[in-house]
Point group: C2
Chain length 289, copies 2
């Protein structure tokens, strides 16, 4: 049991960790830290947290486990506030969607990443956001990736892993660079593609209505374009080094597809679409496992 869990950033991600830990009796006291007083009030009213603070130093005092669940762009600032009050007996972890930049931020703040800081990432987005949307079961069956470094304390990693498992997640460990590569492909790139398409068609729709003729396929395809713009700006900036080359690669693949269409190369087009369908089936088969 965690005596005192401090969640920094009480939104969908942090709120769901707090709710899940409480619902399973994993924690005695939850302290919420947030810059946004309205968020804290809501979290208190909803019973997601027991105590609230707008100060990192105050909120983390005496905590056994500190979960940084702010958007990725805010993590360096949080680490800077944590630095003077960093406790050797607490375990720190984060839920940031990118890992290399969080590790780089910790290096800038601490010189070297502290052994009791375990970088992590729960793969459980939702297009909704905010503590109102948080649920105790957000992580049930979801994947969580931890990216401990060579010097990370193994006991600290094990305790963070245990928390996620008790919340129902499937936990993997990965090199930080590999994490950022994989997530760029399966999450960051698709989000950019959806945002860019929806913005482009939105401009067309303003000139002459087209959205009224869009159907269920379009709704599903663009669902991720309803995600939080600030969060995705931060992710793109944090992981640009992986995302930008993937966009380039995708633009090249699109160019080739456009050529197949323009030149009427029916068989190659059929092969391309068939391979895509086959690949998606492999993905679905894995999802069911």
């Amino acid at each position: 049991v965690i005596e005192r869990l401090c969640v920094i950033g009480v939104g969908l991600i942090g709120g769901s960790i707090a709710r899940g830990a409480r619902a399973r009796g994993l924690v005695r006291t939850v302290v919420g830290v947030d810059l946004d007083g309205g968020n804290l009030d809501k979290a208190l009213r909803l019973g997601v947290i027991d105590l609230a603070s707008r100060e990192v130093a105050e909120g983390t005092a005496g905590a056994d486990l500190v979960m940084i669940a702010t958007p990725v762009g805010a993590i360096e600032g949080v680490l800077r506030e944590l630095q003077p009050v960093w406790s050797e007996r607490a375990i720190y972890t984060d839920a940031g969607s990118t890992k290399i930049n969080v590790i780089a931020a910790a290096e800038r703040v601490f010189g070297a990443v502290p052994p009791n800081f375990v970088p992590g990432h729960p793969i459980a987005g939702a297009e909704r956001s905010g503590v109102e949307a948080s649920t105790a079961d957000l992580y049930a069956g979801k994947r969580v990736i931890l990216t401990p470094l060579a010097l990370t304390d193994t006991e600290a990693t094990a305790r963070v892993e245990a928390l996620w498992r008790e919340l129902g997640a499937k936990v993997s460990r990965m090199e930080p660079r590999h994490h950022d590569e994989v997530l760029a492909a399966t999450s960051h790139l698709p989000h950019v593609l959806a945002f860019v398409l929806t913005e482009m068609l939105g401009r067309k729709d303003e000139q002459r209505e087209i959205f009224q003729y869009a159907a269920g396929g379009f709704r599903d395809f663009t669902r991720i374009a309803s995600s939080d713009p600030g969060m995705w700006r931060d992710i793109c900036l944090a992981n640009g080094r992986e995302i930008v080359p993937l966009i380039e690669q995708y633009r090249e693949a699109l160019k080739q597809a456009a050529e197949l269409i323009a030149e009427g190369r029916a068989e190659e087009l059929h092969a391309l679409f068939s391979q895509a369908r086959g690949a998606r089936q492999r993905f679905l088969d894995q999802l069911e496992k």
Copy 2:
């Protein structure tokens, strides 16, 4: 009441028209025509059709309404078979996903588009296909676009429109060119984007597993990449003149987004994503109407 409805191409689209018309008592006899004998057997066994034929001439004999519900790439061949047995007292229509090329095919076959042929398109895809997937309510609440020409018989258009309305669809009329433009943006382009992304990531997944870390957002985004490859090859070839420039426009928009990311232009990136989210909300608001 339609005495004799002939559905050419007994798959998801044609099967659902037959089922829907029968369920609502709109038709006395349904004749199914398909090159694929297995399809016909299934359709007979499922009670979707009353009579089956593999010959267009035989199957359409005595029909009041002939619905061409084959993939778009097969429509010209069907029209060629219809030409020698074309009846002045029947009404002909189609359910092809593109319209300019169907009209051009009819011009090639008949010299001019016959006045009793009403080009149409129900916007009701599904990633499933085949007569087994057909349902009586596929068109309930869906949009159907008719693209009659100046010389199209207004009575014929009205009868086709009435059939779709009785199947529960919202029917609009549109210029054929505008139909192809709108559908290229809201349907054809997204399908190409999903196919190309899924194929590209499928190749990465073969080298080093990435799909196991993909989540619900990816599942929704790639759903349309499970669509029938042959059908989408045909659509892309039929409407390449609209699709190819849109791909080019999208590649340019992606290039600009990549620049914003690479150059760390946070505010512009945030504005782009916010505009996308706003545009999607407009789309959702319209969908509910």
